[in-house]
Symmetry: C2
């Protein structure tokens, strides 16, 4: 297998294919999510959905096809999305009068409908989320991270005023941060996007940004305050208490199946996937070792352990196939199963089993009577340990002392020579788009976000050297 | 509001719109599922998904776009679906080399992928389900029942031999019957489709059929044994234990959002929806009555009841808006909320509340200390009561003594004159397509299925009078 360091992209593709998470299809940029890949998404969905509902949101479903004229109504929106839309032009043997786009996002369709649904301040807020497939026909695709069709959730809310809408925008960003850090064990920086990186049609875009093991950034979730832009474009007005018509303030927020790709790129190692216990399709694998077939007690004991773990709600597999233990170890490591239990005749004599955590080198000997609780504990500690390891890696590769474009270019060159990871840099920015653009042109580094809680604050612009208005994370991004 | 009896179709549309389940959109035949409509689907999904997983199935996700050439591979399949496919012909500003269909169902894409995924008998069975949107661009649409885009689940499994595949086909049909009867309180007849009503490309199709309140039939779920047809078309072979290549035997099975429409049409009445408690977004509504605003104890008591019900996991709403009690009663009846609780000063004096079940005329006085348990009990008994009412209605309108085409035509005419419901008929059939076709032409009655457990057995064909090979349900169908 390709190593992470030699060729990270190849390592990524090899890893997700060998771990059986996905397959390519003949439709350009569209992948099939295989059960082990899809189940990661199901665990993400379950946790997100629970939190959306706890905060008063309800799910709905909107048409996937959007009339071309809808896109024309919000100028920035059509400019942003039209280059990547697939179009339905014929149906049931007839040419359509108007082309229908496969939704890249649903602000326009939902804007159209909300203008009918919202009449009075009594109807507000409208707090709706949708789980759906969306399409962005992009030139360069990468499984999970950027695909022509992907799965996501998109929240679309309407509020009585800016204050309420901004509160919603920040609430959802906070939920994203909690879920991505807590469930996926991926540390993120939350912050505001610069204008050039805003969602097309948004007043303000906020994001959470995660660092992959090659130092690149992934935008792991975004939350937008849309102001009254879509309300004006789609005429979404309500009667206020004084009986006057006012535009609603809307928000939208989304996370997608790119989170699956991020988990792989944040935690995986040379042996394959490492899955955080909370989202692993298989959390524990039981493997008989030694001459176990001659000793029926081994399988009896493993059956007991299997039943006890099942009973605790732990996702456990028992691998009693004919392959060698070494082959099985390798296979389950590749799939990123958090905990492996080995039991052979010699272990049984000593009334113990071996426990191997996927991310640690040493095996632990555990007394059989304590095994189930030891496994439970290991799943919990491994979840936090993976988060801490990822945070340590990120902090080591998020540089805070590179303050000029010249230093950045030198840093990138040195990294290239050393085969080390250039990572992110925290730098000042004067607020001028031209400076951001120049950094991008010369280094491929783009602004990720203006973090709410930066490790330090910068005073001069990385590009022009003038006074910095903002302290910004810059990185190469997926 | 239009009455059910005068104009059932108009009653249906009025009812689902007033109950806020859906909205029309400018895209032909595509509806928006509003939160109360979508939540019914979520309850169905949850129960189905649990049962699929209990029986060893896992979810996956396949591309929505299917290359035209895939459809050509299974001849019957393309003939069946091509008249209703929408096509993507352009994407990202370029004309595509090959048209891509919006999936009407995924046998072809999945067949293509399974041919790579399945190599050996060790890989079998493959037990995969997908939750997805699908498209059938039909001329005549009806919200939930027949829409251009709808939501469904489609199971696709591959097996070592016919026996195993047929067992799967029947297992999934049995799960559909249990969920539709148990969760939706809709009685169904399970049975086999006649060849003319088979899924295009299937060897055998089985269905569950439900009777709506206008006597029409809805196919509420189908399960297909596909033999080796798709395996041959897509070259899905495995190495058996003797090291020889063999075709797999495949199945597919599906249920869709038309189940939402069926629930409305089976249980609804002149006052609007009646939702079975297990799928009702709101199971209980609490309404203060009388001069309750002058008596703060009323709201305190209702808050307590609300908390106690929430605590039991019951989906409860408290309506303390300024509308009159009569207005509220009407509104929540329209929405089909199973149980309404009224509490006013006079009730409180007597230490009791009034309980009104949506489907019964009388209110019950319940001692406050017993209220929570009385509500729980009512939700359970109402679930069974709705099923029994629907079964009684169906049995009364499923006729078993009409044995000739002449009698059927007379029966339909008499029904029309009386304004009564013609319903279904159980009749003999010789097995000749021409007889089925003639019944359809002259009466619009089509064969629904050959029930596994018919109320009685028929010996002569309804059309030609020859010996009957099968006893068949005939009905007008959606």
């Amino acid at each position: 297998m390709t190593t992470q360091q030699n060729d990270f992209s190849k390592w990524y593709i090899d890893t997700i294919q060998k771990a059986d998470l996905m397959d390519y299809t003949p439709v350009r940029g569209c992948i099939a999510f295989k059960p082990d890949g899809y189940e990661i998404w199901e665990h993400i969905q379950e946790e997100m959905d629970r939190r959306f509902k706890e905060t008063g949101h309800r799910n709905a479903y909107f048409p996937m096809l959007i009339p071309e004229s809808f896109f024309q109504k919000e100028k920035e929106h059509i400019e942003g999305f039209s280059p990547e839309l697939p179009w339905v032009t014929e149906a049931a043997g007839e040419k359509l009068e108007e082309r229908l786009a496969l939704r890249p996002t649903s602000e326009t369709m939902i804007g159209h409908l909300y203008s009918n649904w919202i009449k009075s301040y009594r109807d507000l807020p409208v707090l709706i989320n949708q789980w759906a497939n969306v399409f962005r026909w992009e030139k360069k695709t990468l499984p999970f991270i950027r695909t022509s069709e992907f799965l996501w959730q998109e929240g679309h809310t309407a509020h009585i005023d800016e204050e309420d809408a901004r509160k919603e925008t920040m609430q959802m960003l906070a939920i994203y941060k909690e879920v991505v850090e807590g469930l996926l064990a991926i540390p993120v920086y939350d912050g505001q996007k610069t204008p050039s990186e805003r969602f097309t049609g948004a007043v303000d875009t906020f994001s959470i940004e995660a660092m992959m093991k090659n130092g690149k950034a992934v935008q792991a979730g975004t939350s937008h305050y849309l102001g009254t832009k879509f309300a004006e474009a789609f005429d979404i007005k309500y009667l206020n208490k004084a009986n006057q018509h006012e535009y609603v303030h809307t928000t939208s927020w989304g996370t997608s199946t790119r989170l699956i790709g991020s988990v792989i790129m944040v935690h995986g190692d040379e042996q394959g996937l490492i899955l955080p216990p909370r989202i692993a399709p298989t959390q524990v694998v039981l493997i008989p070792v030694g001459p176990w077939k001659k000793n029926p007690e081994i399988m009896e004991k493993l059956d007991d352990i299997y039943a006890a773990l099942k009973n605790k709600g732990i996702r456990v597999r028992l691998d009693n196939s004919d392959q060698s233990p070494g082959f099985k170890f390798n296979e389950w490591e590749l799939k990123g199963v958090p905990v492996r239990i080995e039991l052979g005749p010699r272990d049984l004599e000593k009334n113990q089993a071996l426990l191997k955590a996927r991310d640690e080198d040493d095996k632990q000997s555990i007394d059989l009577k304590d095994l189930v609780s030891a496994i439970e504990e290991e799943l919990t500690t491994m979840q936090s340990r993976l988060f801490e390891k990822a945070r340590k890696f990120r902090d080591e590769n998020a540089h805070t002392t590179i303050d000029t474009l010249k230093d950045l270019k030198q840093h990138i060159n040195i990294s290239k020579e050393n085969g080390s990871i250039p990572g992110w840099i925290l730098a000042g920015w004067c607020g001028d788009d031209a400076c951001e653009e120049k950094v991008k042109e010369e280094t491929k580094y783009t602004s990720r976000n203006i973090p709410f809680n930066p490790p330090t604050t910068k005073t001069t612009c990385i590009c022009c050297g003038n006074e910095a208005k903002h302290t910004v994370w810059f990185a190469q991004a997926y």
